[in-house]
Every structure is written in C-alpha cells, then in structure tokens.
C-alpha cells in the first residue's frame, strides 16, 4: 500500500499509470479465480461471465439509475454472486465436465450481453460512465484511481490469502486433493465448492465494476470465453494454488500484453505458448520456482502472518 502511494506520487506518466490500473484489475480477477481453480481444484472456464455481469450491473446502476459508484460496486458484486449461484448448479459435475459446463455457461452469458439489447445496448455498449463514488466525491485523476484500485487489491488479497490459510481454506484444499478423503472426514464437499465459487464470482464482479469505471464504458467484447482462458493462463503462470503467484502472474502478464499492444495479434499466441510451456516444464508456475529458490536459501514453513 505504501509502495502504491509512492508510485502514485512519483509516476506522472499517464500511460504507465493506466497500464498499472489495467494490471490491478486483472490481479483481482486472477485472485478470485485462483480460489476456485487453484485452491478448490475446480477448473472453471466461465470466470469472465461474472466479470462481465459486474461491469454491466455497475454501468447500468450508475448511468441509467444515477446511483453513486459505491452502490454500483455493491450491485456488481451482488449480481455476480447471483450469477455464480446459477453456475454453481454445475458443481455436481466432476472434473472435465465441470470445465466444459462452465465454459458453456460463460458463452451463454456472453451471448446474453451481445443480444439483450434493451438492457446491455448490445455491441453499442454503455458509454460515459462516471466515477462519482458518493455524493460529490469523485475520483477523476488516474493517480487517484490507481490508489483506490491498489487499496481494493490489497483488501481482496488479504481477504483471500487469509481465507486460504484457515480451516475454511484447508477444507477447500482437501477437496482439491481428494474429494473422497475430504468427505470421509466430514467435509461437506458440495457446500464448500459452492461457497468457493460464490466468493470467486463476487470478486470478479468487483473487478468488473473497477474495469467499467476505469475505461468509462462497457461493451460485450472483453467478457468472452477467451478472457476466461487468459485468466486461467495468468494463474497457471503464477502457480496454481498460490495467491501471491496469481497476483504476480496477472500483474506481469497484463503489463506485458498492454505494453506490447502494438503486437496484439501475437499476444494470444504468446499466451497459448506460455501456458503450454508452463504445463510441460514448470507446472507449479512462478510460485513453484520461487519456492525452489527460497528452499535453497532457508528452511522450514511457517504460517503466513497477515
């Protein structure tokens, strides 16, 4: 957080600040997805749907109903949670079937964004979003937005890191490692899977609201199924199951892809190469690499103190 304040005061370049802002939104998305995929072991390929639901909820609330952005954020999270509740019907499916069901779910939601014109304005999109947080309180400068985002990211990070490192988190990991064994010690697998999906979905909704007001517009384009895959790549590169890994993976990959925007045609190709590379040579991602380095330096494991 202190680093964020320093960055905000020191960095004047609008380009770099907006680059950082984009990256931070992706960090939120990746953290939420990490809870579902990396921690609970449920390969969700529909995460972008909740990102989109959040963006539209926030945009519609603030433009059409003139609500302040804070309400927009809350509504974004609420609707994204509702959406994930719908998707969590699919937790009864296992393994690859869950992946396919969530992928299909994401595609259906995206089709709704494109075709439900009276509400979403279709491919025209919703333009002119304001950043009126509450009353007359606004965040118009990129630096201000950056600070706000950094605060939100920290909050989400602490929330999820603590959640992962607790009785609740152990139950999720137990489900990831071995569902049968988890049930055999009394863990209600279905309930925990659903909770994990709801929490992940809510954070994606939050990210949606953040992105909507960052770009001041919402179109269906960024919420397609390939975005879910890009998010998956971020957490795979960062290291499945690791919250710091997800944050770093999302941050670095977004920075890179935004920085090399001129080569956008190649970015997806590069993403694909990255994910295959990591799966073959470094399935534990950057976090795994980090662990190897750390273990060379010192020994022992402690509970992270957050």
């Amino acid at each position: 957080m202190i680093a964020a304040v320093l960055v905000a005061t020191l960095v004047q370049s609008r380009f770099i600040i907006s680059l950082l802002n984009y990256s931070l939104v992706y960090v939120i998305l990746a953290l939420g997805l990490q809870l579902i995929v990396g921690v609970t072991g449920q390969l969700s390929l529909g995460h972008a749907a909740f990102y989109g639901i959040g963006a539209y909820a926030s945009a519609i609330a603030t433009t059409r109903f003139g609500m302040p952005w804070v309400v927009g954020i809350l509504l974004a999270m609420a609707f994204a949670t509702l959406g994930s509740l719908l998707m969590s019907l699919t937790v009864r499916t296992r393994g690859i079937y869950f992946a396919v069901a969530t992928l299909a779910f994401g595609i259906i939601i995206h089709l709704v964004f494109v075709n439900w014109v009276p509400v979403t304005r279709g491919t025209m999109g919703i333009l002119g979003l304001e950043r009126r947080l509450w009353g007359q309180w606004r965040i118009d400068s990129p630096q201000g937005y950056f600070l706000f985002l950094a605060f939100v990211v920290c909050a989400v990070y602490v929330f999820l890191a603590r959640l992962t490192d607790s009785r609740f988190g152990r139950a999720l990991k137990a489900i990831r490692e071995n569902e049968l064994a988890a049930q055999s010690i009394g863990i209600d697998v279905t309930r925990y899977k659903i909770k994990s999906i709801l929490i992940g979905g809510a954070t994606a909704g939050l990210a949606g609201s953040m992105m909507a007001h960052l770009t001041r517009m919402v179109t269906p384009e960024p919420f397609g199924w390939w975005k879910s895959i890009v998010l998956l790549i971020m957490i795979v590169a960062g290291g499945l199951g690791s919250m710091p890994g997800a944050a770093v993976g999302a941050f670095v990959l977004t920075l890179l892809s935004e920085y090399f925007r001129g080569y956008a045609e190649y970015s997806m190709l590069a993403y694909g190469l990255i994910i295959v590379f990591f799966m073959i040579y470094l399935p534990e991602g950057l976090a795994g690499l980090w662990h190897i380095i750390i273990q060379k330096v010192r020994w022992g494991g402690r509970r992270a103190v957050w």
């Binding site: 603590r162 609740f168 139950a171 049968l180 049930q183 055999s184 199951g241 022992g300």
Partner: protein, 255 residues
C-alpha cells in the same frame, strides 16, 4: 451396547452378487476383525458402511439411527470414520496440515471469522494445531510434520491415513488393511498404536495378515464370497472348518 448394526446388506455389480445379506453387529469398545479371502467383499462392505456405495438392500444402524441414506460426510459427522486400503493422501498438503484438516468437524470458523482472524478463530486454530501435533506424536510421525504428504514412503502413508482419521475423533474407526505393505517392525508399532486407540474407540479392522488379526482382535467375522460364514474368538475362528475350507480353497493357509 451395539454401536453398529448392519442387517441383511446385499450388493451386486452387474449380475455379480458381491454381498449376500451380510449382518454384522459391533458393540461399543470392541476391536473386531473382518477377514476373508480376496474378493470376499470386505472393501465393498466398508464402502457401503461409509456411504461410498449404496446397498441394494439391507439396513445400517449406527448408534441407533438408520444411516443407510446418509451421504458420506454426514456419516463421518456421526463418528463413522475410515481409512482406505489404497492411501488417499492430501498430496499437496504438509503432514501437519493434513492432520489438522482431520479436525475439520470440530470447529466452526467459516468465511468471515477466518478473514477477520477473530479471537475465537485463532483459538480454534491453535487448538487444532496442538491436537494434530499430539496425534502425530502418538502415531509416530512427529518428525515429519512439515513434509509433503506426497513425499512419504508407504509405511508413513498408512500412519498418515490413521492420523487424519484419528483427528476426526471417530466413535467407530474402520480400518481397511492398515498394515499392508508395512515391515514387520512397523506392524508391531502399529499394533501398539491400535490397542491404545481401542481404549477409547470401537474399531472394525479389515486385515490380511492373520498374525495381526489374531493377536489384536477379541472377535473376528469371516466373509467369503459375499457371505458371513463365521464369527467368534480367534481360537474359534482358527478351528472353524468352514473358515479353513474357505481359505484352503483359495490356496492360502491361516496360521
């Protein structure tokens, strides 16, 4: 007092009858052995008791309650805890973490108390950690606390299974071949541990090693081709002609 009453449990896969009307009553505090030649249906019976499979017919009463329709985790919540013939470790967890997970049912912390690290949550975590450590000391894995479960050798995997099950504080502990793959010295150590566990917990033990069964169990039930063919003390079982026939028919000799 009877803690478990299985009555007329039958199960078939395809056309094959794996269990034919098996009835078994366990009394509180017992250490009962369940033996039988390969393919007798022991593991299937375990799977039906714990809810992994559902019986085609029959009743299962646990602690006076018909649990036949309960899902696995609800049976566990009533104190019916098992280990697996093929260890099912939480590979990516450390030994300590895995054993702490075993205490899951006894604590309440959910999302918000975990995130806010409430005093209650911290106390619970401390307690869970202490309990897990105590259990690991008890089964003899104290020095492996920080090892990854996946990295343990077979013998320690079995102990790990047992530790996780004990952490769940079973009222009835179902052990599926806990000594398979262990060295003689490891078996002896495990026997001591099981006798100690039995002071507080009822145990149903499926085991191939006759020496282990005969020396540990007060009573033994014998399954053969899905039928319960005998029940009695180790001496009675060793003399029972039906049992001898069942085993000799398989080419094995009960010692």
């Amino acid at each position: 007092m009877a803690i478990l009453e299985a009555a007329g449990v039958s199960k078939s896969f395809g056309g094959l009858m794996v269990l034919r009307g098996v009835s078994l009553t366990l009394h509180e505090g017992e250490l009962r052995g369940l033996i039988g030649p390969n393919g007798a249906g022991k593991t299937t019976f375990f799977n039906i008791l714990t809810g992994v499979l559902s019986a085609d017919s029959g009743r299962i009463n646990f602690d006076g309650q018909d649990i036949g329709s309960y899902p696995i985790h609800q049976r566990a919540r009533r104190g019916l805890i098992r280990t697996f013939q093929i260890p099912q470790p939480f590979s990516g967890m450390t030994v300590l973490e895995s054993t702490m997970t075993g205490t899951h049912m006894y604590y309440r912390a959910e999302v918000w108390s975990s995130v806010l690290r409430t005093r209650k949550e911290r106390e619970e975590e401390e307690e869970a950690r202490a309990k897990a450590k105590e259990i690991l000391r008890f089964v003899g894995l104290a020095d492996r606390e920080n090892a990854l479960c996946a990295n343990l050798p077979v013998g320690e995997q079995r102990l790990l299974e047992l530790a996780r099950a004990l952490a769940a504080q079973p009222r009835l502990l179902l052990l599926d071949e806990p000594t398979a793959g262990l060295r003689a010295s490891e078996k002896e150590a495990l026997k001591e541990v099981l006798l100690e566990v039995n002071k507080k917990t009822t145990i149903l033990l499926v085991e191939h090693d006759m020496r282990v069964v005969m020396s540990l169990c007060s009573r033994i039930s014998v399954l053969s081709y899905g039928e319960l063919i005998a029940e009695g003390t180790p001496e009675e079982i060793q003399r029972d002609p039906k049992v001898i026939q069942a085993y000799l028919g398989e080419g094995a000799i009960a010692t």
